[in-house]
């Protein structure tokens, strides 16, 4: 299990290799990489709540492991200023089977987006603005509760 909050960029291959290092019982690894979208955004700044962030990510990771047979989970979230096209977030899962790896990665992203204390501020030509929470993210997260009930 790897949970990291960092300013620096990360390398997907290094993270995927670490996830399956030294074992040969993993059949499937799924990764999600979130990127800064440009358009009218010239820079994105990520603020977070040190201490709580790591706790929240570890709790999300624990929930995923309770639901799926996972052999490894990696969650990396960058903070600070990021240029368009830059990687923001990385989530990877390892499992014997692909359905579990896919579902768990999607679950991790849905919960990360609604429960982990990160906030995005966009710089544009008209000034800076805080990104509003999207209703669709809340809906995406709540479907995992509905499905289980």
């Amino acid at each position: 299990m790897t949970v990291r909050v960092q300013e620096n960029d990360f390398d997907p291959t290094t993270e995927l290799d670490a996830l399956c290092a030294g074992r040969d019982d993993i059949g499937a690894m799924v990764s999600f990489t979130g990127l800064v979208r440009g358009g009218d955004v010239s820079e994105m700044t990520l603020e977070h709540y040190p201490g709580m962030t790591e706790k929240a990510l570890e709790e999300i990771e624990r929930e995923a492991r309770n639901r799926w047979p996972l052999q490894g989970v990696t969650i990396i979230h960058r903070v600070g200023p990021l240029a368009p096209g830059a990687r923001i977030v990385f989530v990877a899962t390892a499992s014997p089977h692909r359905a579990a790896a896919f579902e768990a990665a999607e679950f991790l992203m849905d919960f990360l987006k609604t429960r982990a204390p990160f906030w995005k501020k966009e710089a544009t030509a008209e000034g800076a603005r805080w990104v509003d929470a999207r209703e669709s993210d809340g809906e995406a997260a709540s479907r995992w509760t509905r499905e289980k009930s």
């Binding site: 709540y49 709580m52 977030v89 204390p117």
Partner: protein, 83 residues
């Protein structure tokens, strides 16, 4: 008791954290926020819409009716937008 503010709440209040000593009778998060609003206009402005504000007590998500007795760290912030 330490208060933490994030994102636009931090910007409106003007500080990221501060130590406060709420008077007796302030027992819930809601009462704490209402008390803060009476202190200075910047708090009133920041907390104008409490529906848009989330709270964590000692780094665990909580709600506005949660008791604050014994809390070391209370964080107030807008809905999260990471990922």
């Amino acid at each position: 008791m330490k208060l933490l503010y994030f994102a636009w709440l931090r910007e409106r209040i003007g500080v990221g954290s501060e130590d406060v000593s709420p008077p007796e009778g302030i027992e819930t998060v809601r009462q704490l926020v209402d008390w803060l609003k009476t202190r200075e206009p910047r708090y009133d402005h920041a907390f104008a819409e409490t529906a848009a504000i989330r709270v964590a007590i000692d780094q665990e998500q909580a709600d506005f009716d949660a008791p604050i007795a014994g809390a070391r760290e209370i964080a107030l912030f807008p809905p999260v937008t990471g990922g």
